[in-house]
Amino acid sequence: MFRYIVRRVMSAVPLLFGLLTFTFFIIRLAPGDPTAMYIRGDVDPHYAEQLRATLGLNDPLPVQYVKWLRGVMSGELGTSFSLNDEVVDILARTIPNTMMLTFFALVLNFGIGIVLGVVSALRRGRTVDHLLNVVALFLYSIPEFWLGLMLILGVSLNLDLLPASGIHSPLAQFLSTWEYLWDLIQHMVLPVFVLGVASAAATGRYMRGSLLEVIQQDYIRTARAKGLSEFVVIGKHALRNAMIPIITLFGLSLPFLLGGAVIVETVFSWPGMGKLTVDAIFARDYPVIIACTLVSGVMVIMGNLVADILYAFVDPRIRYG
């Protein structure tokens, strides 16, 4: 297994390098110039021209590529054009914010999704199943931005139960450690709910379908014929096999841990990777775009690897040499 993991990781290095090189050229070929945003209002009309020179954007593309490559080889990701900060520092600040949000959203997603799917499958065709189907479809079809704004208006503005935006209250530094933690949790409730609940509806549907397929298999009938309790039949025999598609889904969801969720982050002013990436794309902030691509690329590769390893745990037929 260890050799398999090392082999997979090693094979990912050229893949990532290729991805970054491709991104480097494709964003520079896209229309729009990073300095175009600055030629507005009360500024020197030749400001953009000077800024291009200062940022090295007037160099020929191959020269820019060699400079960038040299930086990457020495572990430097460059400096953001729009935020005037080292990209490494930006990532170091943003990734924890995103992980906080997306980790709990994933827990909510898979926690609720699996439970809903199992209940729905076991009560197939009954009122509970129909009800859960309707609720799942309803939640799945609500746009995230709309749900977010409605919760802000309802829960935050009208009921005044939770804060509307941000990670902390403006003067959170004056709070005790516990109060600070609760302040954080209160700020997390709405964005985590919005992110997790819609995905939970989808996960629930996957879980239901998968479990329904498994419980019709012969070996489940055999387990029941052996006189095993329903709890053991479902919990030990059926659920383990039914989890395989959910693990695939989980593997595919892992990049989201660091990729962030742009709509929810924007609505709730949560300074995460999703918003950072989209803002960087709109501002043509090349160093930040490449760094975000790197993070996403690593997470996609890691997600697939984790999913492949988990398959071996739930399916005894799968072995990695």
Binding site: R40, I112, G166, E179, Q186, T266, L276
Partner: protein, 559 residues
Amino acid sequence: MTPRLLFVSVLCCAMLIGCGKRSADKDAMAETAVVAISGDADNLNPVVANTTVASDIGSGVYPMMFDVVFDLREGKLKFGPGLVTSWEFANEGKDVILRIRKDVRWEDGMPVTTEDIKFSYELYGDPDVASPRRNYVESMMFTDGKFDIDKSVTIVDDTTMVFHFVKTYPLQLFHLNLSPIPKHVYHNADRRTLRTNPANERAVGAGPFRLEEWVRQQQITLIRNGKAALPYPAKLERVVFRVISEPTTRLTELKKGTVDLMRPVYPEDVKEIQEKNPDIKLITLPPRNYDYIGWMNIDIEAYHSKKVIKPHPLFGDRRVRQALTYGIDRRSILREKLQSYGELAVTDFSPIFRWAINKTLVPYPYDPEKARQLLRLAGWSDSNGDGILDKGGRNFEFTLYYNAGNKRREYVATVVQDNLKQLGIRCKIQAVENIVLYQNIDEKKYDAFIDGFSVGLAIDPSDRWGDVMNPFNTVGFQNGRIAELLKLGLHVQNERDAGPFWMEIQSILHQEQPVTFMYWVKEIVGVNRRLKNTNINTLGITDRMWDWTIGDPNSAMTQ
């Protein structure tokens, strides 16, 4: 457990905790104002900063050379003593002698001296630094095309200095109002990387506030600078600038009372706020931003391929541009989108400059018949009966570009398309990403586009209507008489003497219609009534923020 049940449980927990005692931050909030901002500051070093937020924060942290007021009755800037205690003009107005205060100190205790000011101007003028305000030094001394700081600034002693200009002009004091930064902090800084210098994060200033904390992309906290001598320590303990990018969320925070000040409030939200939120006061700013439809005056193909300037085949004729303005129902757009928070634009001379406005000019009315008549005079007719005007075998059709996501301009584009269709002009509309739109406008690649412009606090139309190559002259307009008037207007020492020249320029612009000037936008600012002594005006929303206090929302508010 259903998601709803789980949600209710989480809410109950949060409520219980939320009801707990949090006296520390409540006490602090009683001495804190919260300003919602749509995006983070790009930099806290005023030499390279380029966002309004950075400028708002800088005005509280860095020493200001002059105490500047915009007199709305007169429509002009007035300069009072700030760091500069007195000033006088010499050498026929080309030299300005400044005397500065002795008692102003940087946060680290070092005195603010004339050396700091000279050093700062050296940075502002250095092309390697790439300051957005480099144009402020362009009338000072240059040697071999490079800004010469030693010829431009003479230091007499720690508190006296002389600025040397190549000419006398109305904006001299305005151009001497750039914030200085401490030389002892930045003297070894690499010029090319000044914008990422670690010292920018600390923002060592000498103003009534100092930077307490900058949590990037989240909030910037200013705290009272108890040692400030310019003008004095802030009355409020703290001002927090919170980044809330979503406009609806920003407005919600204002309505909740968790934000004290925000911009902009949109006209469509005004009625509801006035009816349901008595704690919020809405203040309208005098207009400094306008939207326009740019009609490319020059043939862009000839311009880009051979650098030859010749009239644009569609919009090169003044009569066509006039017809387009007559043919667009600007008043209905104004009514629908801005209501009373806008006014029809006559030219791009802002109504705030009362003394310079040519009051004999009136906005073009919506008159499709007049538009048809002018188009006929310009030789456009529907010769083949296909419903589209043509001339010399060319149909009158073009694409109108605007920035995607801007609802107001999207509406303008659809109205324009409909209005022009009635004249026999086929106008396709195309939304493009902001950055692509701006780049193509600046490079003069579009025949027609919707754009906006923000005017400065002093009149200087030279970028907009002077050199055809200037990126701000977005439609390649050129006019010999305007070029002469610009020279005259920008060479008087007394601003008011330029009035007749500016009025004549307006007449020419009104006649020529290089663009269709659409409307001025009066931005609306929302303020919680607990925030007292605000001075929200043409200069910005944080002008004199050191006088802000927190008080009873029901007591009278000083504006």
